[in-house]
C-alpha cells in the first residue's frame, strides 16, 4: 500500500471532499473534525449558503453549503457529512461547518501545480490522480466568519 507522507516543501496535507460534482481540497490544518449527519436548524431569512445552525461542543455552529460557496449556485447536495473548520482548540475560537456529500480522505497535494484561481476563497486548482481538485482558502472563510461575529 502506498503511504502518503506530509511534506513541507511544495506539498501540503489536505482533506479531500466531494460535493455535487466538485472535488475540493481543504487544508488539513484548518480542519478540526469530521462528523456525520450533524443536525442543523435552518435560520429563516439567512443567506443561501447557510445551511443552518448546529450544536457542536455546546456552542452554536454555523454550517455552510460548500457547493454554494464554490459555485454560487443552488445546492443539490445531500449533506451526508460536515467538516468542522477552525484554528486552535480553545474555546472562543472561530469554528465553521461545511456541509459536503462525502469526505474522501487526507491527501498530499503538490501546491506548485496551480491550474487556475477563481476567487479568493477558491484557491489553486490542482490535478490529483487525473481528477481536477479545487484547493480552498479556508483562512479567508474563517476570517470572514470572524468578521461577521465581530459585527
Amino acid at each position: 500500500m502506498k503511504q502518503e507522507i506530509i511534506r513541507n516543501e511544495g506539498h501540503g496535507r489536505f482533506l479531500l471532499v466531494r460535493t455535487g460534482n466538485l472535488s475540493c481540497a481543504l487544508p488539513a490544518s484548518d480542519v478540526l473534525r469530521v462528523v456525520r449527519r450533524l443536525r442543523c436548524h435552518a435560520v429563516p431569512g439567512s443567506r443561501s449558503r447557510l445551511v443552518g445552525l448546529a450544536q457542536y461542543g455546546g456552542d452554536p455552529l454555523p454550517v455552510l453549503d460548500l457547493q454554494v460557496l464554490v459555485e454560487h449556485g443552488v445546492s443539490n447536495t445531500r449533506h451526508h457529512s460536515t467538516v468542522i473548520l477552525g484554528r486552535g482548540r480553545k474555546r472562543g475560537h472561530t469554528v465553521l461547518g461545511l456541509a459536503v456529500d462525502e469526505v474522501v480522505r487526507v491527501v498530499n497535494l503538490p501546491l506548485g501545480d496551480v491550474a487556475d484561481s477563481d476567487t479568493d476563497f477558491v484557491g489553486e486548482t490542482v490535478y490529483f490522480e487525473g481528477e481536477e481538485v479545487k484547493v480552498l482558502n479556508t483562512q479567508q472563510l474563517l476570517q470572514e466568519e470572524r468578521a461577521d461575529k465581530g459585527r
Binding site: 503511504q3 502518503e4 506530509i6 482533506l15 488539513a28 473534525r33 456525520r36 457529512s81
Partner: protein, 543 residues
Amino acid sequence: MVDSHNKGGLRAWLGPALIVIVVLVGGAFLEATVDGANEGWFVRGFLVIGLLTVVGYLLFVHLPTRRKLRDYRTLQLNYDEQCEVLGSSLEDLRHGDLVAARELIGELPEDMGRAVEAASRALAALIQQIQSSSVEVATAAGTVQRISTELASASSQQAAAVVEITATTEELARTAGQIASNASRQAELAAHSETAGDAGAAALESAVSGVEAVRQHMEAIAGRADTLGSRSREIYRVLDLITEIAQETHILALNAAIEASAAGEHGERFAVVADEVRRLAERSRESVDSVRSHLDEFAGSIRGVVVATEEGTKAAHQVLEGNKHTHEAIAQLRSALADTARAAREISLATQEQGTASDQVVLTLREVSEVVQRIADGLGQYTGAAERLNQLALSIQLLTQSFRIESEHSLKHHLARWTDRLRDHSGNLEAVGGVLEDLLEECPYLELAYLVDLAGSMISFAANRDLVGDREHPGSAAVGQNYADRPWFQALSRDGRAAVTPIYESLLTDDPCFTIAIAVRDADGEVVGTLGVDVNLLNWTKI
C-alpha cells in the same frame, strides 16, 4: 164411277120389268089353262091385280128405291171426293207435310176433319216435342261431352300427377331410407362421441388433479420464497448495520488522520494507521455494496420467483376454473350427445316408419293411379257415348226436320215463308240476294243459301260470313253453277216436295252439314225455282 152409276140405274128398273114380265106370263098362262066361262073374269082380275101390283110397286117400291139410289149415288160421290181429299191429306202426312195436310181439312166432314186435324196437331206436337227434346238431348250431350272431356283431361292430368306424386313419394321413401341410415350412423357416432366424452371427462379430472397438485406446489414455493424474502430483508438490515459501522469507521479514520496531520511529524505513523483503518472501512463498504448488489439480484430473483409462483398459482386457478367450465361444457356436451344419439335413433325409427308408410302410400297411389286411369278411360267412353248421343240427337233432329210443322224450328215451314218473299222478288236478282242475306242473318246456323232455277242453275246465293269467314268459295258455290245432278234437286223435281239430304262435309267450312231444298212457287202454285240452304251441324242446336 159413271159406269157403276149406269149399272145401278138399270138394276133399279130390273125389278118392275120382272113384275111386268111375270104379270104378262101369268096372264098368258091363265089364258091358256082357264076355261072360257071364267076366263074373262080371271084374266081381267089378274091383269087388274097385276096392274095394281105394278103401279103399287112403282109407287111404293121403285120410286123410293130410285130416290134412295140417287141419294146413295150422291153420297157415294161425296164419299169418293172425301176419300180423295183424305188420301191427299194422308199423302201429305206420309211426306211429313203436316201443314199441307191440315190445309185440306175443310173439305172433309166435320168429325173427320177434327179427327185429322187433331191427329195432325198431335203429330205436330209430338214432332215438335221430339225436335225440342233432340235439341235438349244434344245440348245435354254436348254438356256431358264437354264435361266428360274436361273430366277425362283432368283425370289424365290427375293420373299424371298421381304418377309424379308416386315417383316423388318413392323418392321420398328412398330419401327416408337414406335419412334413417344416416340417422343410425349419426346415433352410432353420437354414442362413440359420448364414450369419447366420458374418456375426456376422466382425462380432464386427471388433469385437474395434476393442476391442483401443481397449484399446491406453487403455493409451497411461494411460501418458501416469502420466507427467503424475509431472510433477505434481515440480511439487508445487517448490511445496513455493517455499512453504518464502516461509515463510522471511515469518519473515525478521517478524524484520526486529521489529528495525525495536526500532530506533525509525530503523527505520521498514526496517520498511516488511520489511513489503513479508512481503507479497511472503504473495503468493508465496498464488500457490503457487493453483497448488497448480489443480495439485490437474489431478492430480485426471489421476487421473480414470487411473481412467477403467483402467476403460476393464478394460472393454475384459471386452469382449474377453466377446467371447471370445461367439465361443465363436457357434461353439457355429453348430455347433448346423448340427446343427439336418442334423437338420431328416434329419427331413424321415425324415418323407417315413414319409409314403410311411404311404401304403403306408393302402393295406394299406384292403385289410385290405376283407378284414375280407369276413370279417364271410362270418361273417354262416356265422351264417346255423349258423342253418339249427340249424333243420335242430330239424327232425331234430321228426322224431325223431314216434317213440316207450324213451328219456327221446322226448317221446311220456315223456309216456305221465305219462298213467299223470294216469289215476291222474282226477277230481281239484287232483291233476291238481299232476301238470302236476310235469311242468313235470321238463321245463323245456315252456311249458305241459294236459289236455283228449274234447270238447276244457280241464280243467286249468299254465304254466312260468321261461319265461312274469309275462306274462298269453292267452284260449286257460284252463280250459273248447275245443280241438276244433286239428289235434293232431283227429289224436289220429282214430286215438288221439300227434300232433306243426308249429312255430308261442307266444302265451305269442312264442317258436317246437310241441305234442305224447298220449291219456290208462283201465285198459281207452279214451281218456278228451288231455295236451298246448307245447315251447319256444329250450330244445329240453334235451329
